[in-house]
Assembly symmetry: C2
Homo-oligomer: 344 residues x 2
DNA sequence: TTGAAAGCGGTACCAA
DNA sequence: TTGGTACCGCTTTCAA
């Protein structure tokens, strides 16, 4: 390993295309032509080489802001990061989406707009002049926020959550599907007095409320006499679970949808410690089909959630960007079906 | 040049400060003064109001690229997203960091540079001219990448992972600590023939290798005769775990560090199904102190990892940005201690 | 108190 | 095949 002494002047300023031009002995226009491989203009091979060499020597990197300022548009897709950390399912989905978008030559950028809401956040995003915005949180955006973004040049505004908002395309991930699937399964297993675990952690209402609503809707729809729904708050810690388990029998529930597999595991353990038989006394159904659920005894029944491929969605975004005239559409993208194992 | 009359409402183009100036009947300079509250210049109250009203009416949002182009610098902190999804521990840490940075008035942006590596990625990042770059993946960056970023004007380049790289500040999260803690604990519990689960999933080597190295180092250091380390590959699925469990006794291990709590849970279940007694025959230690580990029976012993507060790190970044002259420092930020429960 | 104008770094049109 | 140059939107002297 060779130690290279640092004798270069540290405060060298950032090289621009003018510096490259000067070093190569050509004009800035030529530099631009060469580095962008402009097909409308033919540059001689020797010149090309000189320009490339100069650029490399200076470590020249074009300035994205200057470029998009001149171009009047960018290929930046902005994805505001949600404040609540997402589970493995959604992170996987967003990862895939990001990857697919960058395959389509978009620059995907996640932007942390913490603390602000609605129009304020939208304005902050709009300052970056993204060509498209994919917002996981529709409710925080609002119709006015959508308007701000469009006014600032965004060709496509999508919301990606359980909510939708006027003016924006929606990838509706309808959590009610999850609740419905769970309810129908529990009913089919002969359960009637159904509980719905509701996480006490703030920020999770966005997910839990639609699921509960789905349960309620399904119970109403089947019109089975004696079927009932009870919302049961639970914090994600052992003490809370133990307290709930201690009064479990007083609730008189014979089936419970536990919000997701993690809460289900917490509840299952607490119930077992309390001597409540699962599934005999109470059937337990989780959601998300995590690996951990398969490892429990009894194995955890769960609602498997299907999300669309990131590739398909990326193409949809691309289509809307190319043809911004299209009316906002709602795409119903969440599939839910029950994986029946041993806990129900 | 013929002045083309501009139909006001017809063209829904993005409003600029010139539009605001025209509507308010002032110059662009005045608009800038008013909207930025420039203290060096005093603008009369009536003018202020007219400008604000005009801006609001047009839905004017300043153009961040134009602004930072003119200013010659930005307050953007770039955090390349790692390709491998991070666990709850790290996501929490990054969230906190983001929040703290935006409190310090930085614009935090996560950039997906998928597929590229090293200098290519660095060049892509450099195009955005961030004032600071916080890269979770030091190995992909490389010294040349750091150089590219600095040349493009980045005042601070940090790496945030188990690796470090020349020229960049490092928040060294030394996974060897985790392995060491686990090894010392297992040795203290009288275990000698230690196994190290190595996930087969690609991308996890960055985390697993240092942990194994830590185990090895600790075993060497104590110089207990008969102490040995065996690397045991395991994929994150039941079949792989079952296969491993079936040949477990042939490995002759009396203790195992299972990489993290999830792999530990997978292994634990497979061992139990195979009739291997835990901890009597084999002690199992996980890592990350997830809730799920507490719910297992036996309760899972685990290595609790401590990461610094995002706030402190944000201040460190801010300090380096303000004084870019400081020599790159290595901050050792990962603490590891064992939470002894029942599986060891 | 306000305005005219230069210029940040690129791109692309028009000439040479 | 190349160069000159206007301009993208904004900030900031310098004058008025």
């Amino acid at each position: 390993m060779v130690q290279i002494p640092k004798k270069e002047p540290a405060r060298r300023s950032v090289p621009t295309s003018a510096d490259v031009a000067r070093l190569a002995g050509v004009s800035r226009a030529t530099v631009s032509y060469v580095l962008n491989n402009t097909s409308a203009v033919r540059i001689s091979e020797p010149t090309r080489r000189r320009v490339h060499a100069a650029a490399r020597e200076l470590g020249y990197v074009p300035h994205a802001a200057a470029r998009s300022l001149r171009a009047g548009h960018s290929r930046m897709v902005l994805m505001p990061t949600s404040e609540t950390p997402l589970g493995p399912l959604l992170s996987q989905f967003f990862n895939e989406l990001q990857w697919a978008l960058s395959r389509l030559d978009y620059t995907v950028v996640q932007y942390a707009s913490l603390g602000m809401t609605g129009e304020d956040a939208a304005r902050a995003w709009a300052e970056l002049r993204p060509v498209a915005v994919l917002s996981p949180d529709a409710s925080a955006l609002g119709p006015r926020g959508v308007e701000v973004l469009k006014r600032s040049g965004a060709k496509a505004v999508f919301t990606l959550g359980p909510q939708r908002v006027e003016g924006a395309h929606a990838l509706l991930m309808d959590g009610r599907r999850v609740g419905e699937a769970a309810a129908l399964h529990l009913l089919a297993r002969g359960r009637r007095r159904i509980g719905a675990i509701v996480p006490e952690e703030p920020g999770l209402e966005i997910f839990s409320e639609p699921r509960v609503e789905g349960l309620r809707k399904a119970l109403r729809a089947v019109r089975i006499t004696g079927a009932s729904l009870t919302e049961v708050p639970l914090a994600y810690d052992e003490a809370s679970a133990a307290r709930l388990a201690a009064r479990w029998r007083s609730l008189g529930l014979d089936g419970v949808f536990a919000y997701n597999d993690e809460y289900a595991m917490l509840l299952l353990r607490a119930l077992q410690d309390e001597g409540v038989a699962v599934p005999d006394e109470t059937a337990v159904v989780g959601s998300d089909d995590l690996m951990l659920g398969r490892l429990l005894r009894p194995r955890l029944s769960t609602v498997r959630i299907e999300l669309p491929s990131g590739r398909g969605l990326a193409e949809l975004v691309d289509r809307v960007v190319r043809d911004p005239g299209t009316e906002p559409e709602v795409h119903d993208v969440l599939g839910a079906d029950v994986v029946h194992r041993e806990s129900s």
